[in-house]
């Protein structure tokens, strides 16, 4: 992470510093070399406000130094020669630092872009898996609609027609909701964060996964917390995290079983404090568990124990990145043959 300071603040601070240095230079007299301290405001401005601003601060600093020299009534030729040398030194410093800063900025943008692309690749992967659930969730209401339409001509009384028309409307709404949900999931997550309740997150993440679970002879059990668990976050990204964990749990149970989601509050990870300042979603399965030699690697990108075409090795590493960006963490607890438990911890959104 680059340290941050606003451009204006950096320039203001640099001008104040330059003034202090100039005054110090004047007060202490020729014997104390104050001139070298000018690199501090120049470096400060170049780093936080860019090369151009660094150059004019360099000019200001050289000016200060020159003013001091003139007040000391040094020989003109020596002064000009000294100050020109100083200016070249200051501008070179600003140039080198500015180049370095640009390079870092570029790297940082590239990194952000790559992370975004990886996250999106994982989203598309999850959507591919969700397609089976969507087919089921949409196929049935479509059939109810076409069936009702087929039966309308045979209705015995007008009331029956109204009933069937209502059924058709309800089913269309049901399909609409599923499509909206899928579209929301597929959209690039963006950077918007909003207050949300972890109970709702657990429920919405499971919506399209229930049919897939059933297909695998597994069930998903959601146990919400009694009261809302407020956090701040990007709902699309967090849904991706929970969906990834549930899909992993399902794949760890080839013969079926139960995935339990529990929502609650917890203390800061790694401590036993009683502060309870974190919201927690626990995803637990009774599947094959994680081998001890695989455990240290599960959050590494492209690490997978699944077969070719089954896993990309993106899910957990992407999920880990998303949760870390939210100021939280993912804890894992597993023993071979005894299932796995993943806990997503997110800072509670407490009203100040």
């Amino acid at each position: 992470m680059m340290p941050t300071m606003s451009r204006g603040a950096a320039i203001l601070l640099a001008i104040i510093l330059s003034a202090f240095i100039a005054i110090g230079d004047q007060v202490t007299g020729v014997d104390v070399a104050f001139t070298v301290l000018y690199v501090v405001p120049i470096a400060l401005v170049t780093w936080f406000a860019g090369f151009r601003h660094g150059v004019w601060i360099a000019v200001v600093c050289t000016g200060c130094s020159m003013l001091n020299a003139m007040l000391d009534q040094r020989p003109v030729f020596v002064t000009i020669w000294n100050e020109l040398g100083l200016l070249v030194l200051f501008v070179s410093l600003a140039y080198l630092l500015g180049r370095h800063r640009e390079h870092l900025e570029h790297e940082r943008r590239q990194h952000r872009l790559t992370v975004d692309q990886l996250r999106h690749a994982d989203r598309l992967n999850v959507i591919g898996t969700l397609a089976a659930g969507v087919a089921h969730e949409i196929g049935t209401p479509l059939n109810v609609i076409s069936g009702s339409a087929e039966l309308i001509p045979y209705a015995r009384d007008p009331e029956e027609v109204v009933d069937m028309a209502n059924v058709i409307r309800e089913q269309v709404e049901r399909i609409g909701a599923i499509i909206r949900h899928l579209l929301d999931f597929g959209r690039r997550a963006g950077i918007k964060t909003a207050p949300l309740d972890l109970n709702d997150l657990a429920r919405s993440s499971t919506l399209l996964l229930v049919p897939i679970a059933r297909k695998r002879k597994a069930e998903i059990d959601v146990e919400p917390a009694i009261s809302p668990v407020p956090v701040r976050g990007n709902i699309a990204e967090l849904e991706q995290v929970i969906s990834n964990l549930i899909l992993n749990a399902l794949q760890a149970m080839p013969t079926g079983g139960k995935v339990s989601l529990r929502v609650g509050v917890a203390s800061r990870p790694g401590t036993t404090d009683d502060d309870r300042s974190f919201g927690a979603v626990t995803v637990e399965d009774d599947g094959v568990g994680i081998a001890p030699d695989a455990l240290p690697h599960i959050f590494e990108p492209f690490f997978t124990t699944k077969g070719v075409g089954e896993g990309t090795g993106l899910g957990l590493s992407v999920s880990y990145g998303i949760v870390r960006d939210h100021g939280g963490s993912i804890e894992v607890d597993s023993a071979r043959g005894h299932g796995a438990r993943f806990t997503v911890l997110l800072p509670l959104d407490q009203p100040a």
């Binding site: 087919a135 059939n143 076409s146 059933r214």
Partner: protein
């Protein structure tokens, strides 16, 4: 008047059961609804004195899936079954073919379903 033929309709979706039931009732069948696989197996055992003549079975049932129910029934019974699914993948198709059970992919027309039901009951009037 002869006793109407009884059809057990198993689907976890209430509206889907209602629509299938309405269509079949209109054609003079008696309908028994069920929403889970275990319920289907229980109903088949209970109604032994007045047997169920045909089973319309959704594959995606909670608990015991439609495929499991069909496999179990085929081990000892020849009751006609019509399988219904919203997601007819390779596994489901193969299983239906192996058990020689007709498979309808949702969304299907009720007319087609009735035709398949009647054919499975060995009616020749359609």
């Amino acid at each position: 008047m002869t006793e109407p033929l009884r059809i057990l309709v198993a689907d976890d979706d209430r509206d889907m059961r209602a629509v299938i039931g309405m269509a079949l009732r209109r054609d003079g069948f008696e309908i028994l609804p069920a929403s889970t696989g275990t319920q289907v197996l229980a109903l088949l055992e209970q109604n032994l004195p007045h047997p169920i003549d045909l089973l319309v079975l959704d594959v995606h049932l909670p608990g015991c899936s439609g495929l499991d129910v069909a496999e179990r029934l085929r081990a000892h019974s020849t009751i006609p079954i019509v399988l219904v699914t919203a997601f007819p993948d390779e596994k489901i198709r193969k299983c239906a073919a192996r058990l020689a059970i007709p498979l309808l992919a949702k969304p299907f027309s009720l007319g087609r379903m009735t035709a398949v039901v009647c054919r499975s009951l060995h009616w020749s009037d359609l």
